[in-house]
């Protein structure tokens, strides 16, 4: 080793060193869900990293092949478990596409309202957790309060806060409750209030802005190549939202905007989500005006919808219909179908291979979180360790959806 006093100037002394390998392990408070990131650090900078997912793989797609079509709903619930209604609705729409039926209007608006509430729940969780990991506990708790209101509403409607299994092929499990419209509007009003308070607290905060702006920049072309969809794609400037690009349900008939970012950094990803919450509340307000107050929620197709219980107990046709659906499964005609909706994280797709018996032959879920997490390596390579947390938080990787 050279003597230390030779060539000594005020610049730093080069010491021989090796990169340090650390493991931000699957069990980590800042790793939303379970993801392992093995990093090679040089000082604070990440030279290389390896993102390993799959710790929450539960074999959902294979399990679907062991039951009926209606038994898939609890599985898809537990994919993106912070916006389960969007998964339910997406899968129900896929089955209905295969059947070639459209649910009644009342059901479409019902699905939209509940779906947007679920989307808001997803964005509140993502944004709130991101803020909290930067040290902002207060906005996090305010957003959790908002999320609790949404979950109270969903519990009133479906009976469960999170894993409702409320969707059905051909409709929903139950019609809207009596106070649904008033409750939805009240929740929307409260949420908008909470969001404005959060904005006031965060958007002027030096620390918040410094930690997020120009951190984890993803260019639009790269985002598209990676297969990104959803808020993070829009934050990079690509205006793709399935609700606008290929409207389903009644999204073509309500007014709302799709926030697009400019810089593609973590700050944009945060703001896009906050703006989307406001737009979702606009959709909810419009849908509550348009939803019919009476009328059927389910289509009346005896192949897929269970009959009312009084009929099952008193008529032979009701019993046979119930028997066939429960024991043999829904008879969806054979074929293949790909149906996609805007999930909380992006394009949530279901590719169904149907063989005509009551059991799915293959259910392939296109998990937006999986493709989004594929970009993590690119985002954090070259960044500092401290940037990993907000970058990863801004991707909103939901373990259940990424790994299934």
């Amino acid at each position: 080793m050279e003597p230390l006093d030779l060539d000594l100037d005020d610049s730093e002394i080069k010491l021989p060193s090796e990169p340090m390998l650390i493991n931000v392990g699957p069990s980590h408070p800042a790793m939303h869900g379970t993801v392992r990131v093995v990093m090679e650090l040089s000082g604070e900078t990440i030279e290389r990293c390896d993102v390993q997912v799959g710790y929450l793989h539960r074999g959902f797609e294979k399990m679907c092949e062991r039951g009926n079509w209606s038994q898939v709903f609890p599985y898809v619930d537990r994919c993106n478990y912070v916006s389960p209604m969007l998964n339910n609705v997406g899968f129900a729409l896929a089955c209905e596409k295969a059947l070639g039926v459209t649910v009644p209007e009342r059901c479409q608006y019902y699905r939209m309202i509940l779906g947007e509430m679920a989307r808001v729940s997803d964005h509140l969780t993502a944004a709130g957790a991101m803020a909290m990991e930067l040290g902002a506990f207060t906005p996090f708790l305010w957003m959790m309060k908002g999320r609790e209101m949404i979950w109270d509403l969903l519990e009133e409607e479906t009976g469960a806060r999170l894993t409702h299994s409320f969707g059905r092929v051909g409709g929903m499990a139950a019609p809207p409750t009596d106070g649904f419209k008033e409750n939805s509007l009240a929740v929307a009003e409260h949420l908008l209030g909470i969001i404005s308070e959060v904005e006031a607290l965060l958007y002027g905060n030096r620390i918040f802005l410094d930690r997020l702006q120009d951190v984890g920049v993803m260019k639009a072309e790269d985002a598209v190549s990676l297969g990104w969809t959803g808020p993070i794609l829009r934050a990079s400037g690509v205006p793709y939202d399935v609700r606008k690009a290929d409207p389903y349900l009644k999204y073509g008939e309500v007014d709302f905007e799709v926030p697009i970012g400019e810089h593609g950094d973590s700050y944009d990803r945060f703001v896009v989500r906050i703006e989307e919450i406001k737009q979702s509340m606009r959709i909810v307000e419009q849908c509550t005006e348009k939803i019919p107050d009476s009328g059927p929620v389910n289509i009346d197709d005896p192949r897929v919808v269970l009959p009312p219980k009084e009929e099952v107990y008193t008529t032979i046709e009701g019993t046979i219909r119930h028997f066939k659906i429960v024991m043999e499964g829904l008879k969806i005609p054979a074929g293949e179908v790909y149906s996609y909706t805007e999930g909380g994280n992006g394009e949530l797709g279901f590719y169904l291979v149907i063989d005509g018996s009551g059991t799915p032959y293959r259910v392939r879920i296109r998990p937006p979180a999986f493709l989004n997490t594929g970009g993590l390596e690119m985002l954090i390579t070259g960044a500092m360790v401290a940037d990993v947390v907000p970058c990863f938080g801004s991707l909103n990787m939901i373990g259940g959806e990424c790994d299934r």
Partner: protein, 538 residues
């Protein structure tokens, strides 16, 4: 081959065929209840109605009907073509029949189905037919709506005992008269008949009689609904839990083709059903054969025994090998089994004749029983012909010959595959043997008197080939896994042979069949095809 058109498809037919029979030959199903390929035509259910285009140059026969019009809230007059029952209408060359493609036919099927369900009780949860019921299947396929009657259904007698084997429920009955025709035409005993008409129609027994002929379970088999249920199977198992194996009935030498329904979770066989084979049993089986499945689980030897006490399989195998090794092969009587498959018998023959050099062959099985000229054979063993044909050089002696040889001290030991003495009266003479090694499936005289008993799997636990009285070699599929410590006969014999020091290297059934083939020809090796003559020397 003359053809006719069914829904734009050319269907060939034979002279005298009806539409439904010609379609059935091609695997096309026209919905029906009362028609059965093995019975006469009744045409009372009207489910198979199809639209037949009029012959060239003639106008179609149109009927005046009224139809309820929702908009006008009144009946309107209409005309519809007269539909023909496909089960009764004879086919002619060039005929045009519309089944799936006709709207009138769809409406007719819906209406017939609605009518059949009009007074049907809500019994699905307790009815055995659920899961294999035509009313359920056709409702989903053809009706899919509720009925328009809002009154209470007509109540009829339920759960009547019709005889020692059957229970009849008049509410579920659609009076298709399949059971009446089966009793009259198959069993030649017209004990059932239809009474009353309309919604009071039901099936009754002739006065003073019971449903007690030898084919009563066939009435349950043909019944498309849950009106006739067998006392043996009632409430035992739900059919959607059962898997099916294609087997041969081992109740007698007729060798009826059957389905064995078993629950794979518990390795339990719940029932037989007849399998169509126009050369052997047509569509039917007798009661004795249908109920023979109980023998798979009852009276079984499932553990090895030494000197009457349960022993570990390996120990018993060792003991048997030692015993047979030190005995003079000419003093051993080798008993083949008319109850066991060709493969099992071939294995024992190979061990005895080719390795041990024991040439004294005998054949035992069940004693003869009651036969008739419908299906039942007096020989109650499924494979007499096969076992006899395999031991070609010296036809095997009978059980009586074995007893005589034992009493004359010409034989001192017995190596037996099987469980039954063909002459039960002489069975006690087995005690005269110095040592018996029994490869047995069931308790019986051989298992009782044997020094070493090795447990053999039954016919339901292994694939096997059986040659029936007509000389047809038929293959039976395995249903359940070997019960207890039992092993398939051929496998057990191979292990015994290896234990005795002989190079019997068979590990799989196809090894055994491969060894049989050059000797016995394709027929006995059971390559899956039946052959005409099985009396092949080898």
């Amino acid at each position: 081959m003359p053809t006719f058109k069914l829904d734009d498809r050319e269907i060939p037919f034979e002279a005298g065929d009806t539409i439904i029979r010609a379609a059935h030959r091609q695997g096309i199903d026209i919905p029906h209840y009362c028609w059965h390929p093995g019975l006469s035509v009744a045409a009372n259910c009207r489910m198979c109605l199809v639209e037949v285009a009029p012959p060239p140059g003639r106008k179609p026969l149109m009927l005046d009907v009224v139809r309820w019009d929702h908009e006008k809230q009144d009946y309107v007059r209409e005309k519809k073509p007269k539909l023909q029952p496909a089960c009764q209408m004879q086919v002619a060359e060039g005929m045009q029949v519309f089944s799936e493609s006709s709207e009138h036919v769809a409406r007719a099927r819906r209406s017939v189905q609605e009518m059949l369900l009009l007074n049907h009780p809500v019994d699905c949860p307790i009815c055995d037919q659920a899961g294999e019921c035509r009313l359920q299947d056709y409702w989903l396929e053809h009706q899919r709506s509720s009925k328009r009657m809002h009154d209470e259904i007509i109540h009829m007698p339920k759960a009547q005992s019709f005889g020692p084997t059957m229970v009849y429920d008049a509410e579920r009955c659609i009076v298709c008269t399949r059971c009446v025709r089966v009793s009259a035409e198959l069993a030649k005993d017209p004990v059932l008949d239809k009474r009353e008409r309309g919604n009071l129609g039901e099936i009754v027994l002739s006065p003073g009689r019971q449903l007690d002929h030898a084919y009563t379970l066939m009435t349950e088999y043909v019944c498309p609904v849950g009106a006739l249920t067998s006392k043996d199977f009632r409430f035992k198992a739900r059919v959607w839990f059962l898997r099916t194996a294609r087997t041969i009935c081992v109740g007698c030498a007729t060798g009826c083709n059957s389905f064995t329904d078993y629950d794979p979770r518990y390795d339990k066989v719940y029932r037989y059903r007849p399998r169509e084979n126009l050369e052997v049993n047509k569509y039917w089986m007798c009661d004795e054969g249908m109920l023979d499945y109980a023998r798979i689980h009852e009276g079984r030897v499932l553990a090895a025994r030494v000197a009457g006490k349960t022993a570990a399989y390996d120990k018993a195998l060792e003991k048997a090998a030692k015993l047979l090794r030190r005995v003079d092969p000419d003093a051993v009587g080798v008993v083949l089994s008319a109850q066991h498959s060709n493969e099992d018998n071939f294995a024992l023959l190979t061990l005895a004749r080719d390795y041990m050099g024991a040439g004294n062959l005998f054949l035992s099985g069940k004693a003869p029983g009651v036969g008739d000229d419908i299906l039942r054979h007096t020989d109650k063993n499924p494979n007499t012909a096969g076992a006899t044909a395999l031991s070609t050089s010296s036809p095997p002696g009978s059980f009586a010959d074995l007893v005589a040889a034992l009493e004359a001290k010409k034989l001192s030991h017995v190596l037996v595959l099987g469980s039954y003495a063909a002459d039960p009266a002489l069975a006690d003479a087995l005690g005269k043997a110095q040592g018996i090694v029994a490869l047995a499936t069931h308790e019986g005289p051989f298992a009782e008197h044997a020094g070493v008993v090795l447990p053999v799997s039954s016919w339901a636990e292994s694939d096997g080939t059986f040659v029936n009285a007509q000389g047809l070699a038929q293959e039976s599929e395995r249903a359940i896994r070997p019960l207890g410590d039992s092993k398939p006969g051929w496998k057990l014999v191979a292990e015994l042979g290896r234990s005795m020091g002989y190079p019997m290297s068979w590990k799989k059934l196809k090894d055994v069949r491969g060894a049989m083939a050059p000797e016995a020809g394709a027929a006995l090796a059971g390559s899956g095809a039946s052959a005409q003559q099985a009396g092949v020397t080898g």
